[in-house]
């Protein structure tokens, strides 16, 4: 029983990270109807920036917030410079741009920092009091994830800018007619998604260690999470993230073994697409022809 509880709690910790990345995917998806395959590599690159800052002697939380800010700007810049020109291009062209971004970020990081695996510090003290079931970092990561989710919820729900971003994503033409600068809202969405991703990267790096390929698995789980919850539903993505995290851990520990963990994500992706493509809380889109 203790072992199961331990796996569930550890699953919630990584699940929170999947939930964050899934949320970043959903944000871009809502605005563009495309899955940003480079989301994970963007997070990985940000985590390396944080690593550099910390190694240069900056205190952890200083590096943390500076990295979040940097990632936001990087996200906005990528949208303006790389995505904007292909705004009206065919879907495949945009997907190719996403994949190019993935490869470029991965290789550039490898080129700058080498592919050697590095350790990444956790900001949380060694003794948080529930050492029996959860490592301090896992507990801290859950806390950080929950704060991020709450802040995002409040932003989108209660601020005029958050409302404008939601409006721009679902009805660009009407948004322009009330004066919303839709292009900038998309760029802001990219910035926010990149910032959320960077936090996820910094939270997962102490667990999986820092290397240019560290987000590959995370992105896959996050994609599964987003699909399980419904790719156009932010709340669903968060729920899906936690669910996938727990499933991955429990199944990995007791049923299929660690080697097949990643297959859980793939089975979920295919299963959802076959059985219920709209996910748990996504919308079924019907259009008249």
């Amino acid at each position: 029983m203790d072992a199961l509880l331990h796996q569930v709690l550890a699953g919630l910790a990584t699940g929170g990270i999947y939930a964050s990345v899934a949320l970043a995917l959903v944000m871009i998806y809502q605005a563009t109807h495309l899955v940003n395959f480079a989301q994970g590599e963007l997070a990985m690159f940000s985590t390396y920036i944080a690593w550099s800052l910390i190694n240069a002697g900056m205190p952890y939380w200083g590096a943390f917030f500076l990295t979040v800010g940097f990632s936001f700007v990087l996200g906005v810049l990528i949208e303006r410079v790389v995505i904007r020109p292909v705004e009206n291009a065919p879907v495949l062209a945009v997907v190719v741009v996403f994949i190019a971004l993935l490869v470029i970020l991965n290789s550039v990081t490898g080129w700058i920092y080498t592919f050697t695996i590095k350790t990444f510090p956790s900001p949380f003290p060694n003794d948080l009091g529930f050492g029996k079931y959860m490592s301090p970092h896992e507990a801290g990561a859950i806390g950080v994830t929950l704060v991020v989710l709450l802040l995002l919820y409040a932003f989108f729900r209660f601020t005029p800018l958050g409302l404008a971003m939601r409006a721009a994503a679902q009805n660009p033409e009407s948004s322009r007619l009330v004066g919303i600068r839709v292009g900038w809202m998309l760029a802001l969405g990219w910035g926010l998604a990149a910032a959320i991703g960077s936090i996820a990267g910094m939270m997962v790096a102490p667990i999986v260690f820092l290397d240019p390929n560290m987000m590959g698995g995370v992105l896959l789980y996050a994609f599964a999470a987003a699909l399980v919850g419904g790719i156009d539903s932010p709340g669903g993505a968060v729920f899906g993230g936690f669910l996938v995290g727990v499933l991955e851990n429990v199944l990995g520990a007791f049923v299929i073994g660690n080697e097949l963990k990643l297959a859980v994500a793939l089975v979920l992706i295919i299963g959802v697409l076959v059985v219920k493509p709209s996910g748990f809380s996504g919308k079924v889109h019907v259009s008249r022809v």
């Binding site: 005029p160 409302l163 404008a164 939601r166 409006a167 679902q170 009805n171 033409e173 009407s174 948004s175 322009r176 007619l177 009330v178 004066g179 919303i180 600068r181 839709v182």
Partner: protein, 236 residues
């Protein structure tokens, strides 16, 4: 100088020319109607005024050139567009839809007052303030679109087929409210309508458009008496 003026306005969608040099003008505080059959170019004229189609020719609003400007900037001059198809943000609540109408305004306190003012015109909107706007009926969404435009505190409202798909009783109610808004708040209106009879009752001036050209214009009373208009558009 006219409040709103278009001179030799051309517009096209890709290769297809839709407007062939339309010219018209309206005075501040008046209601002007653009009449014409399907495909005459009425909707395109409104879209041109909002920078939503590529145009040639000159457009002026309150003395400023507005041709070639971005839609978002034209809105900031005080032009509110009630689009064809209502443009509802279907996944947002009724109140969020209304607040978006006031997105460009900085006077937050006055926005709250205006919200109440709009609820005064359309009381049932208040009952449905937390309801998802996509679940409103067509007529309700039309009222919501008009209300959203009012939230801008516009100087000029562009109304694209406000009567489309509405029951006659509701059309009458809506037009009465438009009349009141025009009289009480001095909001100028440019109305595109296929329902010529209703539009001529509402408007002070009217332009008749056929295949992208103005073929007739004048005070509504005169247009109503014109034999050709009577036969083709009023049906008696």
């Amino acid at each position: 100088m006219a409040f709103l003026e278009a001179a030799a306005l051309h517009a096209s969608y890709g290769q297809t020319r839709v407007l062939h040099g339309i010219s018209f003008s309206m005075e501040e505080g008046t209601i002007t109607a653009l009449l014409g059959a399907n495909g005459a170019g009425k909707t395109t004229t409104l879209r041109a005024l909002c920078g939503m189609v590529r145009t040639e020719g000159e457009m002026r609003f309150a003395g400023q050139r507005i041709d070639g400007r971005a839609t978002e900037d034209i809105v900031r001059l005080g032009i509110a567009h009630v689009p064809d198809g209502r443009g509802t943000f279907v996944n947002l609540t009724t109140e969020e839809n209304l607040r978006l109408g006031a997105y460009t305004r900085k006077d937050r306190a006055a926005v709250e007052t205006d919200l109440e003012r709009v609820y005064g015109y359309f009381p049932w909107l208040k009952e449905r303030r937390a309801q998802q706007a996509g679940t409103l009926s067509g007529g309700e969404q039309q009222m919501l679109a008009v209300s959203r435009a009012l939230m801008l505190r516009p100087k000029l409202m562009l109304l694209d087929e406000p009567s489309f798909g509405l029951a006659p009783l509701i059309v009458r109610e809506l037009f009465a409210i438009l009349r009141r808004v025009n009289e009480k708040e001095r909001v100028s209106m440019l109305v595109v309508e296929q329902n010529a009879a209703m539009a001529l009752d509402l408007a002070d001036h009217a332009y008749l458009i056929e295949t992208g050209r103005v073929v007739l214009s004048g005070p509504s009373g005169d247009i109503k008496k014109n034999d050709a208009v009577r036969r083709s558009y009023l049906g008696y």
